[in-house]
């Protein structure tokens, strides 16, 4: 029972408490670069989740075999292999998305989240926990990407296109602010989201402190 509980905790950890993008502020480059449309964010998230889960599993399985002095190069080779798998698969089945994401697909190799999880989690924990951690972190990253890219797409194009379907029909009744789908919009959107999250956390901890005081 407690092992199951541990697994659930490992899974939930990556979604809110240690959301890689919004809490740990890791993996910014793809998050800023490709979050111009919600489908781009979604597929980038899926690609990262696959690489993260695969590399976590493999690294956890071979963690006893790797001498600690050369562990980083070993991790990088494992990660690069999974990235190659994603790169080739995307090129074959989603050629248009592959074109849009461009160099950011192979650049998943240097996404700090993946190496960070390999180093701090997968190289120390059993395989099952590592897989669950990879899935949780990947899901958290995907969610954050989807949120950022939806905001940017809605404000920048006054519409949202999900798998070819226009969510708002003819578009929302305002003039799209094109700057949102351009580079400056990325920085400002992510900055404001992280700020809003900070604000929520501060409010909650202050309220908890008040309640504590009232009780004593």
């Amino acid at each position: 029972m407690s092992r199951l509980r541990k697994l659930v905790d490992d899974f939930r950890n990556g979604i809110i408490p240690e959301n890689p993008l919004l809490r740990l502020v890791l993996g910014m480059c793809p998050a800023l670069a490709i979050s111009t449309a919600v489908m781009n964010g979604f597929w980038m998230g899926v690609a990262v989740t696959f690489v993260l889960t695969g590399s976590n599993l493999l690294i956890s399985l071979i963690r006893g075999l790797i001498p600690s002095r050369v562990r980083i190069p070993c991790f990088i080779v494992v990660i690069a292999t999974f990235v190659t798998v994603v790169d080739l698969t995307m090129n074959a089945f989603l050629p248009e998305m592959h074109q849009i994401l461009g160099i950011f697909v192979p650049l998943i190799v240097v996404n700090c989240i993946i190496l960070a999880r390999a180093e701090t989690f997968a190289s120390r924990k059993p395989a099952l926990n590592s897989v669950v951690d990879g899935l949780g972190m990947g899901l958290g990253f995907t969610l954050a990407l989807v949120i950022i890219s939806s905001i940017r797409e809605i404000l920048g194009t006054a519409n949202l296109v999900v798998a070819g379907w226009r969510v708002f029909g003819a578009g929302l009744p305002f003039n799209p602010a094109q700057v949102m789908v351009m580079p400056p919009g990325a920085f400002v959107t992510l900055g404001l989201i992280v700020g809003a999250l900070n604000l929520a956390t501060r409010r909650r901890s202050r309220r908890a402190a008040c309640r504590e005081e009232a009780r004593s």
């Binding site: 910014m28 690069a80 190659t84 160099i103 650049l107 700090c112 900055g191």
Partner: protein, 197 residues
């Protein structure tokens, strides 16, 4: 020929600035931009490694991968080449020039996971650049990175003493300032139109 090189340099530094327009190397851009002096050191280290990495990955791509039809190994080979290159540069500098090592040493290990370095290698191969063009693109990309991070460090030194709302302190306000700088770099968008027509 020369015009091409000039275009590459202007593009990499101003029009398609690696950090503010292409979003490459955001982690060091946010991580080591608190002080002007560290930003400068990081910038010089990136220029150095990026130029070398562009040249060496070009040699690997056109001397090894393309002739043998091993294009699918690109990602694995590039990252290994860059990681060993950084290690090698670190050792050489340590032995030959302690003064330079003192200045750049601490930045070199972080550079391996700087996506600008790997990114420039991929851009070079996708744009079909020649050896010279690749090296120039690497150098100019590094200069663009340095320009952005040094300007940004100046902004952040002022932000430290400015009154910001508590929730925005740290990363959020840094991101928003970077966004405003990025708006500034939009001014260079029409530079090509202006220069070459």
């Amino acid at each position: 020929m020369t015009l091409d090189l000039v275009a590459i340099v202007i593009s990499a530094i101003l029009v398609n600035n690696f950090v503010l327009m292409r979003f490459l190397g955001i982690c060091p851009f946010l991580g080591v931009s608190r002080r002007l002096s560290t930003a400068m050191g990081m910038g010089v280290a990136v220029i150095f490694v990026m130029t070398l990495a562009s040249a060496i990955t070009w040699i690997f791509q056109h001397g090894l991968l393309t002739p043998l039809g091993l294009d699918y190994l690109q990602t694995v080979v590039y990252i290994l080449v860059i990681a060993s290159l950084v290690q090698f540069v670190e050792m050489v500098i340590q032995k030959t020039s302690p003064a330079l090592y003192q200045a750049l040493g601490i930045y070199l290990p972080i550079i391996t996971t700087n996506c600008a370095i790997l990114g420039v290698a991929f851009i070079n191969v996708r744009e079909y650049y020649s050896f010279l063009e690749s090296s120039v693109n690497g150098f100019a990309g590094g200069v663009g990175f340095t320009l952005a991070i040094v300007l940004f460090a100046g902004v952040r030194e002022r932000l430290d003493v400015a009154e910001t709302p508590a929730a925005l302190q740290g990363v959020p306000i840094a991101l928003i300032s970077a966004g405003l700088m990025s708006v500034g770099f939009f001014g260079f968008r029409n530079l090509f139109h202006f220069l070459f027509s």
